[in-house]
Each structure stands twice: as structure tokens, then as C-alpha cells.
């Protein structure tokens, strides 16, 4: 290449690079970034699956359908307390395996079908039907079915006595029996909620409009002030942010912590994700409790929250459930960051210089980076760490392996969907699908909690269980990342702890 061409090429690249850097770091939002009451536009990172709320466990599907379909019970935010929606009151456990729900009267689906006990019973039967293959099955597997008792009373029958049945009900959306039998039900949703579907399904934007005949207004529930909602997919996060700044959308979801400062208004909420490292308590180096405690002491969780999550994460209190959950022990303290203590414990255990394996997955947000950071901390304490980030099904094999086949540490981010300590306790019980921990006391407490119907008493049992597991350092509980959204300046909305998005709670100022 001629010298003059080479010089010119380098000079042009330098100019382009400087200009690009200036353009990409601008934080000033143009005046077009304002929402209106007539239409709010929401950008999600991925296309929405078919709009059957009972079929898929998918966050974008929930965003699109949470204001269309309603359950019998829902969680209030931020307390997490169960409140009746289509049910008139909280249910009563009339027999060990039967919970009775009284339903509100005078409610119809937007296609005119009545919401009654028959509709409720069929909705529940549909989601628990094995042939339906709902992705919610693991959360509702204790439910055998439901029976209508008159027009507005329904009994939900469980396979075994299930004190958590009320916690499962927010997952089950009520669907119209006749419409749900149609082949096109997933492309033409019909619900009882404050918004109804207008157009779009599967691939492409989805449009909703206010349900002007929404029953909830009579019952004092929010009926929504925004007339129309448009949901579309913009997979690239920088494009999503650009669309917000250009005024093409009013709310963007799933922002990484690094981008929160680059939007007109950032809205955050404590989430229900629990990044955790499952430590193998049954085999290998980590079978020694001193090693497990050392692995906990060695990690500076505050620094991870500050640096990796830019402050948008709270340090976990040594338990794998969200703070709003039943059983969350506010008195439990996380293992302090103490490298000297970690080294001392490793020396006592004869583990200095030994190798441990840490497995993670790219499926989780910052899964690879967290594994690398944790490995660095463990190495600073005196271990050698081998980090593996295999393909997802190989990762799952590692996560579910038992005994010596389980790696020393497996990173997983669990979700407290039922807002109850049960899932985290199950992770620690001997027969838990992800458990590599054996403690008879924990097993006993788990069995007691599973049979305890009184919420406060169950909470007390869970607190004791998590305290025991924390002392045993069965897990390395890390953080509770916050959910981050970007919004137009005049859009008012309080994000929920469970990532749900009810459009009827959004308002636009001015």
C-alpha cells in the first residue's frame, strides 16, 4: 500500500474513532423523549411468544399479558402480600387437600363469556394438564384439579396437603373456557383485565387498548389512564436506549447496570433473582465446612455489587430468597469479606494450593463475569480455580449432578417465584433437585415448614433453616440484582419486585 494512502487511512480512522466515542458517550437526552397519555410504547429485548398466559414462562409474554389476564390472587408491590383479584377474599383450607375460593360476581371476559366457578375450574385444570405441557408445571405440580361448587365458589384440590397453594395462584391466569378451546386462542387473547388485546401476536409489535368496561374500576382497583400500549422487540440494548432517547419508545426493559446512567430516567426495583454458587458439601475439597466457609469469606460481595453491578445490587443476607419472601431472615448477616480468615481456614483444612472447579453459564446475566470474579477472589485466598462455562445442557448436567460428579461450585441464579422460602429450602433439603448438601436438621425443618399452614410460623421455621444452612456455608449467596428500566422523563411508574408490568399503574405527567 502506498505510504500516502496508509497515512490517510490511519488519520481517517482516528477522526472517526474520536467522533464515535463522543457520540456514544453523550448523555443528553433530546426533547423528544416524552410519553403521552394516548400511547405508551415499550421496548423489550426479544420477540414475544404466542400470547397464551398459561403456556410459557417468559418475561416478555408476561409483560404483554399481565394487564389482559388476571389470576384469582396477586401479590401487592412492594410488600409481596397476597391480595384477592378475581377472588373475593383470600382462600380457606377447608380440608387438608382442598382450598376453597369465593369469586367476585358480575365479571365477564372481553368476548362476553362470564367469569364464574366453571371458568376458574377449567382454567386451573388446563394449566395442570400434563398434555398441555405448560412451562409453569413445576410451580403448580401439587394441584390435582379444581371443582366448581355453584356459580361463584371453586374448590382447588391438591395431590398432598399444600400450605403454599395460595402462593401458587398468581401464576394461574383465568382464561375463557370457550375461547381457550380455539386453535387461535394464543393469537387472539381474551381476558378480564384493564387492557384488552387489539393486534399483533407471535412476531411483531403487540397493541393493547384500555378495556373501557373493566370491572375493577367498581372494586377500586386501578383502571389505567393510558389509552393504548404498544410493545415491540428491540434486541440490541444500545438500539433500545437510542430508541428511548430518540422518543420512539417510552419505556425500555432489561437494562444492564452499565447503561443506567445513559437514559433519560432510570427506574429500578429490588428483583427476585438470587445469584448463588452451590457448593458441593458431599464430596471433594468443599465437603470440608472450613473450605466452604473460607470460600464465603474470600469474596467481597460489596465490591461486586459496586463494580460489576454499578451499585444496582444488594448483598444477600446468606439466604437464597428475595427480601419480600416469607421466611426471609433480616437478622442473618452475610459472611464478611475477610481474606485473612479465609486463608486461615484453608490452611487448617490443608487446602492451600489445591484446585477447585467452578462452573457457570452465559445464560445468566453476567454469569461468566461473576464466575471469573469469584475465581479471582478464591485464588487470592490461596486456591487454584478452574472456571468452566460449558454449553447450557452440559451446564445443567453439572448443576443436577450428585455426589462426586457435582463440581466443587456451580453458579446458578434462582428466582423466588412463589415469594416463599420453600424453593430455597428445597435447594438445601437432601432430596432437592439441585442439592448437594445433607443436614438432617435442615431436612426436618423443611418437612415441618411444608406442613405449616400458618404463614408466620412457617416463616419462623424457614428463618431457622436458612440460619443453619448459612452456618454450614452450604451455598455462597451473592447478591440480589436490581431490575433496571429506562423511561421517558414524564412517565411515572413504580417498578415491581417481581418484574411484572401492570399498565394500569402507569401515569403520564403533563
Amino acid at each position: 500500500m502506498r505510504f500516502s494512502v496508509r497515512v490517510c487511512t490511519v488519520a481517517v480512522f482516528a477522526v472517526v474513532a474520536v467522533a464515535a466515542t463522543s457520540a456514544s458517550t453523550t448523555t443528553a437526552a433530546p426533547q423528544t423523549s416524552f410519553a403521552s397519555n394516548a400511547l405508551v410504547r415499550i421496548a423489550v429485548p426479544s420477540e414475544v411468544p404466542p400470547l397464551d398466559p398459561q403456556k410459557r414462562d417468559n418475561l416478555w409474554l408476561r409483560i404483554a399479558t399481565d394487564s389482559i389476564y388476571q389470576p384469582l390472587l396477586e401479590r401487592a408491590s412492594p410488600s409481596g402480600r397476597l391480595q384477592p383479584i378475581l377472588a373475593e377474599t383470600l382462600p380457606k383450607q377447608i380440608r387438608p387437600r382442598v382450598w376453597r375460593f369465593k369469586l367476585r360476581k358480575g365479571i365477564t371476559f372481553t368476548n362476553g363469556e362470564p367469569f364464574n366457578a366453571r371458568a376458574a375450574a377449567l382454567s386451573i385444570a388446563r394449566i395442570v394438564d400434563k398434555n398441555f405441557e405448560s412451562e409453569w408445571a413445576s410451580l403448580v405440580e401439587t394441584i390435582a384439579g379444581a371443582r366448581a361448587r355453584g356459580t361463584h365458589t371453586v374448590d382447588v384440590v391438591t395431590r398432598t396437603p399444600d400450605v403454599l397453594l395460595p402462593s401458587r395462584m398468581p401464576v394461574i391466569k383465568m382464561v375463557p373456557p370457550n375461547a381457550a378451546r380455539r386453535d387461535d386462542f394464543a393469537t387472539r387473547p381474551v381476558g378480564t383485565g384493564p387492557y384488552r388485546w387489539v393486534s399483533g401476536s407471535g412476531l411483531g409489535p403487540i397493541a393493547l387498548t384500555r378495556n373501557t368496561r373493566y370491572w375493577g374500576a367498581r372494586a377500586g382497583l386501578p383502571a389505567g389512564t393510558i389509552q393504548r400500549v404498544l410493545i415491540r422487540a428491540i434486541p440490541d440494548v444500545s438500539t433500545r436506549i437510542s430508541a428511548l432517547k430518540a422518543g420512539e419508545v417510552d419505556l425500555v426493559t432489561v437494562l444492564p447496570p452499565d447503561s443506567a446512567g445513559n437514559v433519560p430516567k432510570a427506574i429500578t426495583a429490588a428483583g427476585i433473582e438470587n445469584p448463588t454458587v452451590v457448593l458441593n458439601s458431599m464430596a471433594g475439597l468443599t465437603a470440608d465446612v472450613r473450605v466452604r466457609r473460607a470460600l464465603n469469606y474470600a469474596v467481597d460481595k460489596q465490591a461486586i455489587a459496586r463494580q460489576l453491578f454499578r451499585g444496582y445490587a444488594d448483598v444477600s443476607r446468606c439466604q437464597g430468597i428475595a427480601p419480600a419472601s416469607v421466611g426471609y431472615n433480616v437478622n442473618l448477616k452475610p459472611y464478611a469479606y475477610d481474606v485473612a480468615r479465609a486463608r486461615q481456614l484453608l490452611q487448617q483444612a490443608g487446602a492451600i494450593g489445591k484446585t477447585v472447579t467452578l462452573v457457570s453459564s452465559d445464560v445468566f446475566t453476567k454469569g461468566r463475569e461473576l464466575a471469573q470474579v469469584i475465581a479471582a477472589y478464591w485464588e487470592a485466598a490461596g486456591l487454584n480455580v478452574k472456571v468452566e462455562v460449558p454449553e447450557f445442557s452440559a451446564y445443567l448436567d453439572a448443576l443436577y449432578a450428585k455426589g462426586a460428579a457435582h463440581p466443587d461450585g456451580v453458579y446458578v441464579s434462582t428466582s423466588t417465584d412463589l415469594l416463599d422460602g420453600s424453593a430455597a429450602a428445597r435447594q438445601l433439603a437432601s432430596d432437592g433437585i439441585q442439592s448437594v448438601y445433607r443436614n438432617p436438621q435442615v431436612d426436618r425443618l423443611f418437612t415441618q415448614a411444608a406442613a405449616q399452614g400458618d404463614v408466620d410460623k412457617r416463616a419462623a421455621i424457614y428463618k431457622q433453616l436458612f440460619s443453619t444452612a448459612c452456618n454450614d456455608a452450604a451455598l455462597l449467596n451473592l447478591l440480589h440484582p436490581r431490575d433496571i428500566y429506562g423511561a421517558a422523563r414524564n412517565l411515572n411508574w413504580a417498578a415491581r419486585f417481581d418484574s411484572k408490568m401492570f399498565f394500569e399503574t402507569m401515569t403520564v405527567r403533563g
Partner: protein
């Protein structure tokens, strides 16, 4: 162009399509368990088994392959696991967008690249040549995902002239087409320049000039036509590369609803049925576009026709 030549090219293309489909079939099944990838963590073993049974993944691999070959021969591409409807329908909904984007980007590449290359060749050795070559080098070196993001920041966010993403009117096509087309324009300019310079030095061109014909006449009547041949070969490769590669990135950055974006979504969800179907359709398109370019080349270059006979 002789029919035996065309028949040979079609047979060759079919073989490529079959080979690509076979590779994708085995790769999607060998690289992990689709059931584990698609179902949520915490699903029970019964759920995994039920899922595998529904998709026929519990059958021996040979039986699955036999079904796959039979279905592919009938263009039965299966039902998308994620969207729960025929993969063929989903692809054909999105395919026109990709073809439109490809056409627009190729037109930009030609409209910008050929004139630049011509100017550089005619003014070879001057500052115009240096500037043109530098610009084309910069253009072809730009990574498309980055270039796309810069175009969005400049034209959509800062200037508010064009939309950032999505589909609609022609304004939604401009930025993605520029992001795809300008890097190709750089290559077209380079190729045109070197090809024209070669032709200008050829004996027939020198003879024409010696006879007294002007530069413009020689360019128009002789040089440009001969430049088309290598340019056509180059464009054939670029079109295939764009359809099967670069458009995936650009469509995702711009949320442009083509099959590239669809492929990313399908891969994200491990929807092996849709991934297989997309690969098959893209392979067919690449083979078909190669055939079209070959036929065009044979049309403009008699040496190919005679060689084919």
C-alpha cells in the same frame, strides 16, 4: 448458455443444499439436549421426557434423520417449537424483508462503489485516487454492528432524521441498508479500480486509443463491459455472504424483521426446528443467487458460454 451447463449447476447446488441441511441436523442434535435448553430450570424429568417425545427426539438418531430427509424433500420444514406454527410460514413472512434489505444494500454498494472505483482508476496516482482508495479502505474495514450503532446515534438520536429500528416506510430501510451497503461499496470501489486499471493497460484498449478513440469511448465500449465479469463474481460472493452472515448482525442491531433477526431469536431459544428451516432456506437462496449470477456472467462473457459447450 448451454442446458447441460445449467443442469450441472443446478445439480451442484442441490448437493450443497443437502449437505448443509445434513450438517445442521447433526450439529443441532449433537451440541446438547434441546429439551434441557428449551425448558425452564427446575423442570421435572417427566417434563423433559414428554418434550422429547413430542418432538420425536426420543427416537434413534437414524430414525430422526430419515424423517428429516423425507420431510425436507416435501418441503415440510416442521413446526417452530417457540412460535408453535409452521416454520415455513414464519420464514416466508420474514423473507421479503431480508430480500428487500439485500437489494437496497447491493444497490447502494453499486451506486457508490462503481463511480468511486472509476474515478480512482481514471485519476490514478493523483490526490483524487488517494482519497478514493482511502475512503474505500475505511468503508470496507468498518464492522457492521458498530457502524450500525453509529448511524443510529447520528441520524436517529442526534439529528432525529430517521428511525432507530423496526419496519414501516422506506425511512426504516435507509440506515440498515447503509450499514450493510457502504462496507460492500468500499470493496466494490477497490475491485472496480483495479479491474479498470488492468483493462486500460490491455492491448485492445491501447490499440483503440492508438486509433484515436477518446478515453470516454474506450471506457464505455470496451473497458466497462470487461470489468463487469470479475465484478459479477465478486457480487455473487458478497450477496451470499451478506444474506448468510452480515445481514444477521445488521437486522439484529436495527430490529429489522428479516430472517437474519429471526435466526438469532431461534438460536437464542434453541428452536432447532426453526434453525434447521432457516439454514435450509438460506442455503437454497444462496445457491439460487449463485446460479443467477453465473447465468448473467455467461450472458455477458462469451468465453463462459463457449467453455460451457
Amino acid at each position: 448458455m448451454s442446458w447441460p451447463y445449467v443442469a450441472r449447476r443446478i445439480a451442484h447446488g442441490l448437493a450443497v443444499v443437502v449437505l448443509v441441511s445434513v450438517v445442521v441436523f447433526f450439529v443441532t442434535r449433537v451440541l446438547g439436549d434441546p429439551a434441557k435448553k428449551m425448558l425452564p430450570i427446575g423442570s421435572t424429568p417427566e417434563q423433559y421426557e414428554q418434550f422429547r417425545e413430542r418432538l420425536g427426539l426420543d427416537r434413534p438418531i437414524a430414525a430422526q434423520f430419515a424423517s428429516f430427509l423425507g420431510d425436507t424433500a416435501r418441503l415440510e420444514l416442521g413446526d417452530s417449537i417457540w412460535q408453535e406454527r409452521p416454520a415455513r410460514d414464519i420464514i416466508f413472512e420474514r423473507l421479503p424483508n431480508s430480500l428487500l434489505l439485500l437489494t437496497a444494500s447491493m444497490l447502494i454498494a453499486l451506486a457508490v462503489g462503481i463511480p468511486l472505483g472509476l474515478i480512482a482508476a481514471i485519476r490514478a496516482g493523483t490526490w483524487i485516487d488517494t482519497t478514493t482508495v482511502t475512503s474505500s479502505l475505511v468503508a470496507l474495514s468498518l464492522p457492521q454492528f458498530w457502524f450500525g450503532a453509529i448511524l443510529i446515534l447520528l441520524f436517529a438520536v442526534t439529528l432525529n432524521w430517521l428511525p432507530t429500528s423496526g419496519t414501516g416506510g422506506i425511512e426504516h430501510l435507509v440506515l440498515p441498508a447503509l450499514a450493510l451497503g457502504l462496507p460492500i461499496a468500499g470493496k466494490v470501489a477497490q475491485m472496480t479500480r483495479s479491474s479498470v486499471l488492468d483493462e486500460l493497460q490491455s492491448q485492445y484498449a491501447l490499440a483503440a486509443r492508438a486509433k484515436g478513440f477518446g478515453q470516454a469511448y474506450v471506457m464505455r465500449r470496451h473497458v466497462l463491459r470487461n470489468t463487469l465479469v470479475p465484478l459479477t463474481s465478486f457480487l455473487s460472493v458478497e450477496a451470499a455472504r451478506t444474506l448468510a452472515g452480515a445481514s444477521v448482525v445488521v437486522e439484529t442491531v436495527f430490529a429489522f424483521p428479516g430472517i437474519g433477526y429471526l435466526a438469532v431469536e431461534a438460536l437464542r431459544r434453541d428452536d432447532i426446528i426453526l434453525v434447521q428451516a432457516i439454514v435450509l432456506v438460506v442455503a437454497i437462496l444462496v445457491v439460487f443467487s449463485n446460479l443467477l449470477f453465473d447465468m448473467f456472467q455467461a450472458r455477458i462473457d462469451p468465453r463462459i458460454r463457449l467453455g460451457g459447450s
